[in-house]
């Protein structure tokens, strides 16, 4: 059985090492926070300037001076710290952030990431902190559906969309399979409701088991 979104978020949360400093991207990766236990000691970084970010809260409990990167109101946990934007991005570029999890339009077999621009002529480009995270986090993990709504693979031999970062992705989590991007190639680490041969056929690329 393919994983639903919550099961996928839980899976990623379980792979985050205890005590790691982690940035969760806007959208689906935000939901990983729900499955991180306090005992894990994982500390969430939000690029607008905070470590020790807590949960998203409803508007009636909002403090609009306290938001996440998606501009949703959040809480602060004991041990939280605030800092300005240049410091926040120094934490990424300086190699202090252990893991970031982002969504993607495409990931290549070599770990290239495309998640900021579809390349469509009338699209308004917006990059935010994605390129800084891709270049700076020690590990860049992607959480996405493996296929588009029309069935096109999103894990591809080479990205056709404009890149966010080169050779930066180390793991890919999807609803039907998880992958490690290694120097030897793309290694399948688990499958959910699909055989590895069918997976290789649909992705049209060699896979290591």
């Amino acid at each position: 059985m393919a994983l639903d979104k919550n099961e996928l978020a839980q899976l990623v949360a379980g792979d985050i090492p205890d005590g790691a400093y982690v940035n969760l991207g806007i959208g689906q990766p935000t939901s990983i926070a729900r499955y991180l236990s306090p005992e894990s000691g994982v500390i969430l970084h939000t690029e607008n300037g905070m470590l020790g970010m807590g949960e998203v809260v409803p508007a009636e409990r909002a403090d609009w001076d306290l938001t996440n990167a998606g501009k949703q109101p959040v809480t602060e946990l004991p041990g939280a710290a605030y800092f300005h934007h240049a410091d926040s991005f120094s934490m990424m570029r300086g190699g202090h952030l252990d893991v970031c999890v982002m969504g993607a339009f495409q990931v290549s077999a070599g770990g290239d990431l495309a998640n900021w621009h579809t390349g469509a002529a009338d699209a308004i480009p917006a990059v935010g902190g994605a390129m800084d995270l891709a270049a700076g986090a020690k590990q860049v993990w992607v959480m996405m559906t493996l296929f588009t709504k029309s069935g096109e693979p999103k894990l591809v031999p080479a990205c056709t969309y404009p890149l966010t970062g080169k050779a930066c992705v180390t793991r890919v989590y999807t609803e039907v399979a998880t992958f490690h991007i290694t120097p030897e190639g793309v290694r399948v680490t688990a499958t959910y409701g699909i055989g590895i041969e069918e997976l290789a056929t649909r992705l049209d690329m060699p896979l290591l088991a």
Binding site: T46, E47, N48, G49, M50, D63, W64, D65, L66, T67, K71, E76, Y82, F83, H84, H85, A86, S88, F89, S90, M92, R93, D112, H117, D122, I124, P125, A126, V127, G128, G129, A130, M131, D132, A135, G136, P162, L163, T164, G165, K166
Partner: protein, 219 residues
């Protein structure tokens, strides 16, 4: 020079047509809305605005854009669910956009404020952002040359100031404020409260008064 405590309209009176204005805030958190309203009333146009986003809803930066005062936006994330003012101007070809990765936006202003001529940065290597730009391999890693972004004016919002202009911020509303304060010729800070000198614990001051030229209290 000593920080002047003034009303919002007086604070922005030196802004000229064609100026580059750094505008604090991440979305509405830390957005100096009353200073922007004063800038609209003041009337300066043909502005280049440097800010993380390109306006939310119809107030603040979005209102300045709607008033037709902005020639160019320099930002990291213009497209949002409530950025209809910018979206309309962009699609109509009425505004220029320079898209800058968020960390580069902050670091380029930090460089300006710190007197750094340029710096090599790993962000954006191999992406369209780096096309045609000078790159260099240092210790086996590739970097892109980035230049400072300096403002004629910075409009920021902090929480509390003392009468000298020392600033403390509140939670994630700090965001770009401390960096922008260093990077402009004239820095104007809007605060919720101004207290007497000596009332702020010096250990908690985030932006020292030397960076602040005008203070506006907006209760």
């Amino acid at each position: 020079m000593r920080t002047r405590i003034v009303d919002a309209l007086t604070a922005v009176e030196e802004v000229k047509d064609g100026d580059t204005v750094l505008v604090g805030g991440f979305g509405m958190a830390g957005m100096p809305v009353e200073l922007i309203d004063a800038l609209i009333e003041h009337g300066a146009g043909d502005l280049t605005i440097v800010s993380n986003n390109a306006g939310n809803g119809d107030t603040g930066l979005a209102a300045l854009l709607a008033a037709g005062r902005v020639r160019k936006m320099v930002c990291s994330f213009p497209r949002q669910s409530d950025s209809w003012v910018f979206d309309g101007l962009y699609r109509a070809g009425k505004i220029e956009l320079e898209l800058v990765p968020q960390g580069n936006l902050a670091e380029r202003m930090r460089a300006a404020g710190a007197g750094i001529g340029a710096f090599y940065c790993p962000t954006g290597v191999g992406t369209p952002i780096a096309e045609g730009r000078e790159t260099r391999v240092i210790d086996g890693r590739e970097y892109v040359l980035e230049y400072p972004i300096r403002g004629d004016v910075a409009l920021i919002r902090a929480h509390v100031a003392d009468r000298l202009g020392n600033l403390v911020y509140r939670k994630t509303a700090r965001n770009f404020g401390p960096v922008m304060a260093t990077a402009a010729t004239i820095t104007i800070a809007q605060v919720s409260k101004i207290v007497e000198v000596g009332e702020l614990d010096p250990e908690t001051v985030v932006t020292p008064s030397i960076y602040v030229n005008r203070l506006v209290e907006v209760a």
